[in-house]
């Protein structure tokens, strides 16, 4: 199973982190510090896996962003690499050629999307289409809510004119 997902920038800034196994606040900070030290310093041609505290961390760099997932000893690393890629492709489709900035300002959306792909540390959906539909269904609610808010503020604006 996947124990956590970590998105971290080249400079070591956390862009997204989701824990599927329990870690205390203190451990969390330590894990992030330790891992960013290990992963950001690795050369480009080395393999995308790091053995760490008896777990394995699979990471992949996209532009300036590192996507990392921590997995058990007996998991399939190549599969995890593809799960990462699957996530990035869905992000790309959603944001329209996604870049780091999208994730910085819309990190909560990245979380929502991740929640549709992984649940409890396992891959729950491998169809991009299904994920896209679900996210769209949720977003349509946002749209209507926004419209309502918009129309109310319009009314107020008109009334106060």
């Amino acid at each position: 199973m996947i124990h956590f997902v970590l998105l971290i920038s080249r400079q070591g800034k956390v862009r997204l982190i989701k824990w599927y196994s329990p870690y205390s606040q203190k451990e969390r900070t330590k894990v992030i510090r330790e891992l960013s030290g290990v992963i950001l310093t690795r050369g480009p041609k080395l393999c995308n896996f790091v053995e760490w505290r008896g777990f394995k961390v699979v990471y992949k760099r996209y532009a300036s962003l590192y996507f990392c997932m921590c997995i058990d000893q007996d998991d399939n690393e190549l599969e995890i690499l593809e799960i990462i890629h699957h996530y990035v492709e869905i992000l790309d489709r959603y944001f329209g050629s996604v870049c780091e900035l999208d994730l910085i300002f819309n990190f909560h959306k990245a979380y929502y999307i991740l929640d549709e792909i992984l649940i409890a540390g396992e891959l729950q959906e491998s169809s991009k289409k299904t994920v896209a539909l679900l996210i769209a269904a949720q977003d349509s609610l946002v749209e209507t809510a926004k419209e309502q808010a918009g129309s109310i503020s319009n009314i107020i604006a008109q009334a106060t004119k």
Binding site: S24, A63, Y111, A120
Partner: protein
């Protein structure tokens, strides 16, 4: 992209994100975040905050926490948010609580009610949001509160809900297997769900269930195989395709399950052969996902009942992995090799050079994986080389976790395969010296036991030699600064027990050394205790032998110090020493018999020798002893406690379901009983004896499965025949070996043989394999290869020296040959005598290893020639396969274009993107414009922010 890429947050929040992005130091960032926390603390507790604002605050809290700061003051607000009616707000609330709270957090009890309500909602999106929260937040205690509803949702019309319900149940199973044990039939039913997504999700809990209990699910083999077949035949909807592979993630999961079901089961395995073979054939090995599936196939093939054809395909894939340029594939190849050699050990031979390349690779991950492989293929012939390598690596790393692991592996290998006791002790010394504090204390006790018992009952001189060599080496090592505590304990014990036995060292010399130890490590009470006991032994041995002992001045001062020690243990030992010294020879010999550490001590657990005393006391009116469990006072207290507990819990939410009985309590009983037996009162200074006590019986039975036990039988055999002793001492014996080789050449080499050798030699320079590497390969793979390799190469080269072996095996397939060949290692001695030295020497041409290498070389060269390429590429088609696939290639454009990072501003970056996809620059421009509209100019220092992740 529409509004999706837009930014809904307030300017304030965008500014925060921006300023964090521009922060030049961690300190600056912390200051900004702390400011933000202050602001949020103030604002969030204001009354009547509009929902929209509140939602943003919560997201800001998430942001703050993501940056590693404590946002716990706002948790309660996030919890409150989940109660909201509006899905939008609720969703944010759920997101925040799943990110903030661990399953054991106190606030969870406040969410359970909301979750229950939401699980019943008409809106499937609400249900989905609640299920997401369920799978993160529900703990063992609260499972019963939501379980019935989650089970009901398995029949929900929306597949997304069914899927999440399955995943939630899977989580419940992980937390408390008993809670969902009655739901197995539901999982089985969901396997036939119309939606492939739900079916795929069901594989997760089934995998766990099958891992625990394979036999109850054997009937599902046919279903799994037919599902896998349908997937492979592309009968799942196209939406599940990934990089042109049909539902690869489902395939992988199914292969994992099949591996479990087919393990050691010939019948079930037979049903899988066809489909796994199909996957091997159809799988596209040019894509990463294709390789992921192939790797999983290898895992499956190596787990199920072996099938020669599949093993062959697996071996092919492994060699492709190992020959690839991608480190990832090499890594997977090494891992897969480790799995396959258990079944067909001979395949390691073909890859020896690739493996050694991996061992010397600068990539640490790959190196470690390779050590794991070596660990799996260690035998008595190559143990020395492997353990030496491991120890060298162990010394070179700092990572304590891995150091511990590799140290324990060294110990394990040394214990299993040690060629001699001297080597064993030297190896253990090295391990202790460099990782002493990381290894299990049992290992130390084991080492002491080995030194005390020796390795055989028949050979006393060897035992005493072993002891004196141990004593010598320890006296030597004591000179080094900062030895680990565990190691010092061993040293003190051995010096005390055997320091003066062989008469080489005088008692005063040993005493002096022991006093030095006690002084140098004065903070370590255990070491001091060991040292004092050792001193006592030396003194008593001297007295018993009738020699007069004078207290050395340093010993005297040590005693004085210890007599006043704060540690009662040390004090007691010191007093005992003082008392013992005053006794006469006969009494002393009774107290401390020489070399008695191996004798059994009978521990009277019932303390029956005290019966008389007890009787006397009771007669005098003392209270009889009441066992702890029968004491009434205790009982009352625990009763009271449980009542109290009950009352406390009644204040909170109550669900009937909490009362469900928990069937698995049994597992808790054994540890308790174990603990009670450990409480046997044994005087403390008998540490080592105590450990013997437990181990002695297993030694006598000899077949005892205890892990830490030395397998002495194998060792004995190695010692019996020094001719076998392996190949590490190459350098000093090469000359004699050469002459031996010369003889072999004259004697046995046929003309055909030498001709082939010549051709190999002439080709050799093209590939350039350093002699050290070959030497290493020979010593690593040497043990097994001697005979096996001949079998493997036998079809191509006629090997005169092994013709007698060959004849009998030629008709059989190479696989069978190899498996039958393992015993003949101990075949005619002269054959081995000739074979062994050639293994070690690098120059002589009869070396069978070189022939093997030659074979590998020729295939490589041949393929290069076939494709009309020069030596630059090893084998071109494989290069093409494993270089980044086009789909992935554009992901790396960021990495490939270092020039971009030097660009001054965010806007200019886009113009300099030569290979980006068509619409990208436009999109990015739009985004940039949008950001600027919002009044934010994102950090110009980091143009990378605008770079598309995918291209």
């Amino acid at each position: 992209m529409g509004s999706q890429g837009g930014f809904y947050q307030s300017k304030e929040f965008l500014d925060l994100v921006k300023s964090i992005g521009e922060a030049r130091s961690k300190a600056e960032e912390d200051r900004i975040v702390l400011n933000e926390i202050e602001t949020l603390k103030r604002r969030i507790s204001e009354p009547d905050i509009p929902k929209r604002k509140m939602k943003e605050y919560i997201i800001r809290l998430v942001y703050v926490e993501m940056l590693g700061h404590d946002a716990s003051f706002g948790y309660i607000h996030a919890v409150k948010m989940t109660h909201d009616d509006s899905l939008l707000v609720k969703r944010t609330g759920y997101l925040a609580v799943t990110l903030f709270l661990n399953e054991d957090h106190d606030l969870i009890i406040l969410i359970v009610n909301t979750i229950q309500k939401d699980l019943k909602s008409d809106n499937f999106l609400v249900v989905c949001a609640a299920l997401n929260a369920v799978s993160k937040l529900i703990n063992e205690e609260t499972i019963p509160a939501v379980l019935p509803q989650v089970v009901e949702l398995l029949a929900h019309p929306k597949e997304a809900v069914r899927k999440k319900a399955i995943m939630a149940l899977h989580r419940f199973y992980q937390k408390s297997p008993s809670s969902v044990s009655h739901l197995v039939s539901n999982f089985r039913k969901r396997l036939c769900d119309n939606d492939p997504g739900v079916m795929g999700a069901t594989l997760c809990p089934l995998f766990d269930l099958i891992t625990r209990d394979v036999n109850s699910y054997k009937d599902l083999v046919i279903s799994f195989v037919s599902i896998l077949k349908q997937v492979v035949e592309r009968r799942v909807p196209k939406a599940y395709d990934y990089h042109q592979m049909p539902a690869p993630f489902i395939q992988i999961k199914l292969l994992k399950i099949l591996a479990l079901l087919g393990s050691g089961d010939k019948q079930s395995s037979a049903k899988m052969y066809t489909v796994v073979g199909d996957i091997f054939r159809k799988c596209d090995s040019s894509s990463n996902i294709g390789n992921a599936i192939l790797y999983e196939c290898i895992c499956c093939v190596s787990s199920i009942y072996p099938n020669p054809k599949l093993l062959e395909s697996a071996a092919d894939v492994i060699s492709r992995f190992l020959k690839s340029d991608s480190h990832n594939l090499k890594y997977m190849g090494v891992d897969a090799l480790g799995r396959l050699i258990k079944i067909s050990p001979e395949i390691a031979e073909q890859h020896q050079l690739a493996v050694i390349d991996c061992l010397e690779d600068p990539d640490d991950t790959l190196k470690r994986k390779t050590f794991e492989l070596l660990y799996k293929m260690t035998k008595s012939t190559n143990v020395e080389v492997i353990v030496d390598r491991m120890i060298d690596y162990m010394i070179s790393i700092n990572d304590n976790h891995y150091k511990t692991e590799i140290a324990s592996r060294c110990v394990e290998l040394a214990e299993q395969f040690a060629p001699s006791n001297r080597w064993f002790i030297q190896t253990m010394n090295k391990v202790f010296e460099h990782a002493g504090d990381l290894v299990n204390i049992k290992v130390a006790h084991n080492l002491m036991r080995l030194i005390a018992e020796g390795f055989g009952e028949d050979d006393d001189t060897a035992d005493s030699q072993l002891r004196s060599s141990a004593v010598e080496s320890y006296l030597c090592i004591l000179g080094e600064p900062k030895l680990p505590s565990v190691f010092l304990q061993v040293i003190c014990w051995v010096l005390g027990e055997y320091g003066t036995t062989d008469g080489k060292f005088s008692a005063s010399y040993i005493i002096g050394k022991l006093c030095d130890v006690a002084e140098a490590y004065s903070n370590d009470e255990t070491v001091k205790a060991y040292a004092v006991t050792a001193l006592m032994k030396i003194h008593t041995f001297e007295i018993a032998a009738g020699r007069k002992v004078d207290m050395l001045p340093e010993c005297q001062s040590l005693m004085e110090e210890l007599l006043a020690s704060h540690s009662t243990d040390l004090q007691q030992r010191a007093y005992e020493l003082q008392a013992v010294i005053g006794l006469d020879a006969h009494a002393v010999a009774c107290i401390m018999p020489s070399d008695a550490s191996c004798e059994d001590i009978e521990v009277d657990k019932g303390l029956s020798f005290l019966n008389g005393y007890i009787q006397e006391s009771i007669e005098k009116g003392a209270q009889p002893y009441i066992p702890e469990s029968e004491r009434s006072g205790m009982l009352n207290i625990s009763n009271f406690r449980s009542q109290d507990h009950h009352e406390a819990s009644s204040h909170g939410l109550r669900f009937e379901a909490y009362e469900l009985p928990k069937p698995i309590v049994q597992s808790k009983i054994p540890p308790a009983s174990l603990a009670s037996t450990e409480l046997v009162p044994v005087p403390e200074k008998m540490y080592p004896r105590e450990s013997y006590q437990t181990t002695v019986p297993s030694v006598s039975s000899d077949a005892g499965p205890s892990e830490l036990k030395l397998r002495l039988d194998g060792v004995q055999m190695k010692w019996g025949r020094p001719t076998f002793s392996p190949a590490t001492s190459t350098s000093n014996s090469t000359i004699s070996q050469k002459t031996v080789n010369g003889i072999t050449q004259v004697d046995g080499a046929s003309t055909a043989n030498s001709r082939t050798r010549e051709t190999y030699d002439s080709r050799k320079p093209q590939v350039e394999i350093s002699p050290e590497k070959k030497k290493l390969a020979a010593s690593l793979f040497g043990g097994s290869s001697k005979t096996e390799k001949r079998a493997a190469t036998g079809h191509k080269i006629s090997k005169s020296s092994s013709h007698m072996v060959e004849k009998s095996h030629v008709p059989k397939s190479s696989m069978e040959v190899a498996s039958e060949k393992t015993p003949p290692v101990q075949q005619p001695l002269d054959l081995l005598d000739l074979g062994e030295p050639t293994v070690t020497s690098t120059v002589p041409s009869v070396d069978p290893f070189k022939q093997l290498e030659g074979l590998v070389d020729t295939t490589q060269v041949a393929s290069a020639v076939n494709h009309g390429l020069t030596a630059a590429a090893k084998s071109p088609d494989i290069m093409a396969l494993y270089s980044e696939t086009p789909a992935d290639g554009d992901l790396l454009s960021g990495v490939l274009n270092p020039s971009m990072t030097n660009m001054p501003g965010g806007t200019t970056t886009r113009q300099s993107m030569p290979r980006s996809k068509g619409p990208n620059p436009k999109d990015s421009l739009e985004k940039d414009a949008l950001v600027r509209q919002m009044g934010v100019t994102p950090a110009s220092q980091n143009p990378n922010l605008f770079k598309d992740l995918l291209g």
